[in-house]
Subunit: 351 residues, 2 copies
């Protein structure tokens, strides 16, 4: 592996000059720059980022810590982050915490050890203690998708409360009164907020909350199936289900099928997050779609801005609008129509 010194010798300059060329410093003679670039090409030289980072104390890398890489929502967020990072010349370390606070803690230590310049994290739960290693070292951090109690730093979230309220209201308007709410862990803010929206919609419609119809589990298909079986066994059973995310909704569809019933004929279903990429295949599934790609993009931008500016600005919170996509099929069941509504009572808020 050729080093900067090899390049310097071949170009008859000092290593410092090569470094200047590599970093696009303005004060380099055009001829010199040419010679250096030729030497770089001839040797197939690639800078050693490890050495650069050690000296410059910046790695131009960020960590992206996600709770579940097998849920298509998160890879979409990741692509937004990647695209933003690529534009700014940052490398993304993608970590999968598996919704597990311990695994998340291990990854945090790992990426601190890797000297990442900043961290994007969708935390496994809303306990700020889990983020202490970041705060202690003053590592710029943007929290994605979820609230963390007592943490006031940069954050990007979808409007969980508003979206949940809208979905629930939709079911109510269709005539449903026994609506089950199948949610993720009670310790995540998205579970809490979507439950709050559900509760608000019921209250506004004068429908009493039946605690039996509210379940907290995991944001996974298996958990969704279990919870669905549980609520469908109730007497009387709910006529509609609100799934707090796409994986839970898939579990619901599965469980409904296992009981010899069908969505939407026998049980109505709505959910948060789209079930992409196969969304078109469920023309009956009304969803509150969060702009996943944009969420990643905005979060990364926020982080890069913070890395540039330091603590000049106060923390920023970006709340992204959620749009409800009402899908319904007509006639034979093969028709497809998508009705897309902008959410009136949400907006991008800079706090």
């Amino acid at each position: 592996m050729p080093t900067i010194n090899d390049v310097a010798k071949r170009a008859n300059v000092s290593p410092v000059t090569v470094s200047r060329v590599l970093n696009g410093a303005p004060n380099v003679n055009d001829m010199t720059r040419l010679r250096v670039n030729r030497a770089i090409a001839e040797l197939g030289y690639v800078p050693n980022i490890v050495a650069r980072s050690l000296r410059s104390r910046r790695t131009r890398s960020i960590a992206l810590i996600l709770p579940d890489i097998t849920n298509p929502f998160w890879p979409t967020v990741a692509r937004g982050v990647e695209d933003a990072a690529q534009r700014d010349g940052y490398t993304v370390l993608l970590c999968n915490s598996d919704e597990n606070a311990q695994k998340q803690a291990r990854y945090l230590e790992a990426v601190i050890s890797q000297q990442v310049d900043g961290v994007l994290i969708a935390p496994a739960n809303s306990d700020a203690a889990n983020l202490a290693p970041l705060r202690d070292r003053a590592i710029p951090t943007v929290v994605i998708d979820r609230r963390v109690d007592g943490w006031d730093g940069d954050a990007v979230r979808g409007d969980s409360v508003g979206g949940a309220e809208l979905l629930t209201r939709h079911l109510i308007e269709l005539g449903h009164r026994r609506i089950a709410m199948l949610s993720g862990p009670a310790t995540t803010s998205t579970s809490q907020d979507r439950f709050a929206g559900y509760q608000a919609a019921l209250q506004r419609a004068g429908i009493p909350l039946d605690p039996d119809l509210v379940r907290f589990g995991e944001f996974r298909q298996g958990s969704g199936a279990e919870m669905t079986h549980a609520v469908l066994a109730l007497q009387p059973a709910p006529t509609a289900i609100f799934a707090a995310n796409n994986a839970i909704a898939l579990g619901a569809i599965q469980a409904v099928g296992e009981r010899g019933l069908q969505v939407p004929q026998d049980v109505a279903l709505v959910c948060f997050d789209d079930v992409s990429p196969s969304a078109q295949l469920f023309p009956f599934l009304t969803v509150a779609e969060q702009p996943a790609y944009q969420m990643g993009l905005e979060a990364a931008r926020l982080l890069f801005a913070r890395l540039d500016e330091g603590d000049a600005h106060p923390p920023r919170l970006i709340t992204l609008p959620v749009r409800m996509i009402v899908r319904y099929s007509c006639g034979s069941g093969r028709g497809e129509s998508i009705l897309s509504l902008p959410l009136p009572h949400t907006a991008v808020v800079a706090a």
Copy 2:
């Protein structure tokens, strides 16, 4: 950020001794080790991997370069890699080449620059020139899922030919004679091999190959939909479709629906790779499932073995068996039965 020197001072030892404790060297006095560990804990010291890597010339990181992170097949592979890596204390850099040779080249340069110890790659195409930077620098590499012409290094693949033949034969046994083959880029070996298996099955059944029924596009839903529309517009139209991967199959389902038809009533469909996690939702879809998780696991193990052994062993090729899952529904369409067949003529081959 405390350094190894801070720890050394607090524990009244030299930095070298701290380094020994960190790396689990055997020749350290128990009392000393205790003092050092206490100092580490008290200071909240985390080793600087950048400095360690610069000196030791090993980063304990590997790159995983995948063609499409939004296809659930690849995240599953990634989880296998991650799990193997975590066990061996390696960090995985996940890169998404987007099936794009240029983007792949940029990522290769980036991870070389990052000094990764090794690379796992599912190459965007079968041209060995794309992997030259790895070969030139003698960076241990394992090629996943796809062949690279003229590259003889470690590799892990599924049995594309056998799986394709099995799927095609299945359709033939169901009575189909006009079977469309919708594939990915002709430059990827998986497209080529699956086409070869398709061809072999037709030939064995004495069915002439109709070039109009064979299409090469991209491994994406959109491409699958386009190709489906194209072949369904033929006169006479095919009665069955073999999709070369899950995304193409989803596109086929979509396009069939858009034409007012249904799978499997109007058009039969089989595909390579499962459409997980929504597999249960398509109880009609017969697939050739590659063991994605295991593929990642084996590939990582192969790489770690290579990193340990150097070039002691000749290149190893692991071909993983593909299992065909025949799904069929009875009666109302809600029944689910899965018939799983081990593939008789495939095996793990160590070459």
